[in-house]
């Protein structure tokens, strides 16, 4: 075989086959940055080292982008509820991860090909859930309800907590309502968990949102009247109203 043909074939093969999983876009600057974020994070202080996620068992190869299975080994409840929600259900059913392009709601064009796993919303190195609570949602969602959040009183409460590693209990983010916290008994105390199943419980006020979410702050009369307004015949008009300036 002539050398130039072999070279063209080799180039084509390089295009067709993806790079090994561990080596995708790894630069020493990126490693340095990730290490810096990690060293200040709760992962580091809880002895979750690089190998815990990137090489979960000694026999497994180095993983550049750990998937939800790596997270599941510690965050069982979070991953299990994520897999039942819209963002994760395709993974539960053994299909490719969800991309915003598949959604029926309007999504930002630049985000259409993003793949939904834990790390899509969470910066796993900094373990800071402030970005995951609002910014991550708004990087894909482009409907009037999502875009109007920035103009709401909820957003004002949230803006006061932006520097924290986790949104405080008085901040109201997208996640406060659609991925709500709830307490479960753990030994003698209680443990706060986040329900990542956004599919059934807390998507629409008339389902279970009033009881499970709205009534954490508002009383029944306040919530019931708002939920009623949102679910009567003119709700479709409300959600198509233009975004407030």
């Amino acid at each position: 075989m002539k050398p130039w043909i072999a070279m063209v074939l080799a180039l084509l093969l390089m295009l067709v086959y993806p790079a090994p999983a561990g080596g995708e876009g790894v630069t020493s600057e990126a490693v340095e940055e990730a290490t810096q974020l990690w060293q200040e994070s709760l992962h580091a202080l809880n002895q979750v080292n690089c190998s815990s996620c990137h090489q979960p068992a000694a026999t497994r190869p180095l993983q550049g982008h750990p998937d939800h299975e790596s997270c599941r080994s510690c965050h069982k409840q979070a991953v299990e509820t994520f897999l039942l929600g819209k963002h994760g259900v395709r993974l539960l059913e053994g299909q490719s991860p969800l991309t915003p392009a598949m959604a029926r709601l309007p999504m930002k064009a630049a985000a259409h090909q993003r793949q939904m796993t834990c790390a899509t919303c969470h910066d796993v190195h900094s373990v800071n859930t402030v970005a995951a609570a609002v910014d991550a949602c708004l990087s894909c969602h482009n409907d009037a309800h999502s875009l109007n959040y920035e103009n709401s009183k909820h957003a004002q409460l949230f803006a006061a907590d932006r520097q924290l590693p986790r949104p405080s209990a008085t901040a109201v983010s997208c996640a406060t309502c659609h991925l709500p916290r709830h307490q479960v008994k753990a030994g003698e105390g209680t443990l706060t968990q986040v329900n990542h199943n956004n599919n059934t419980y807390t998507l629409l006020p008339r389902d279970r949102m009033v009881k499970e979410v709205c009534m954490g702050c508002h009383t029944a009369w306040n919530t019931a009247t708002t939920a009623f307004l949102m679910t009567t015949w003119w709700r479709p008009i409300l959600i198509t109203l233009p975004v407030r300036p």
Binding site: L62, R90, T200, T219
Partner: protein, 215 residues
């Protein structure tokens, strides 16, 4: 060839008709086989899938076990937590007091109300909005004074009642909650706390391996 009534049709046309039918069948089988082979299962969908299910609609096995109808078990695989305190659950209607109601509406199976790929008005429910009146007609015809004059299609379309969960609309709940001020005195969700087990971070254990990969 002579047909009753004296019309004659040349035999060649029968052969060509048969040939056309055979070709169409082969094409159809080939098309379905190609759809399976290329994993393009959208061609088998008889209609639009509901909002909750369209994201995995080509994963037929998720709901359909072979050619069997969808069973409660397949629904519960994902919806178990929602049905844990089901107001209209199977357990309720196994009680002889309510068994008679099953004759009006067979609520023991999810598919009585929820059906995929057919016309529906919301949430995979394909029954009419006045479904509740099958058993609760009296509520709006004089049994409950506060509901006099209500329309039969408003129970859940107006946002008050949820068929599976009526914890937030029962009379007791309303009595306890409706005289409260607009906002609760303490507006807060549970705090998240994580207690670190170390005081300082350990050394990163894979940095050199990552840097080697990058080279």
């Amino acid at each position: 060839m002579i047909w009753p009534g004296g019309r004659s049709i040349p035999w060649q046309s029968i052969v060509s008709l048969k040939g056309a039918i055979a070709c169409a069948c082969i094409a159809l089988i080939g098309w379905f086989a190609a759809a399976f082979w290329l994993d393009q299962r959208q061609v088998f969908l008889p209609g639009q899938t509901s909002v909750g299910h369209h994201l995995f609609e080509t994963s037929c096995n998720s709901c359909h076990e072979g050619f069997k109808p969808v069973s409660n078990d397949t629904c519960r695989r994902c919806h178990q937590a929602e049905l844990a305190e089901d107001a209209h659950g199977t357990q309720k209607f196994m009680d002889p007091r309510w068994a008679e109601d099953l004759e009006k509406l067979a609520v023991l199976t999810c598919t009585t109300c929820h059906n995929e790929h057919v016309h529906m008005f919301d949430r995979g429910v394909h029954l009419q909005p006045d479904l509740c009146m099958t058993c609760h007609d009296g509520i709006i015809t004089g049994e409950l004074k506060s509901h006099d004059g209500f329309t039969p299609d408003g129970c859940w379309t107006a946002g008050c009642h949820n068929f599976h969960d009526h914890r937030s609309i029962s009379t007791g709940f309303l009595r306890q909650n409706l005289d409260q001020p607009p906002m609760l005195p303490v507006q807060a969700l549970p705090e998240r706390t994580v207690s670190p087990s170390l005081e300082t971070a350990p050394r990163p254990d894979l940095t050199s391996e990552f840097e080697e990969l990058g080279r």
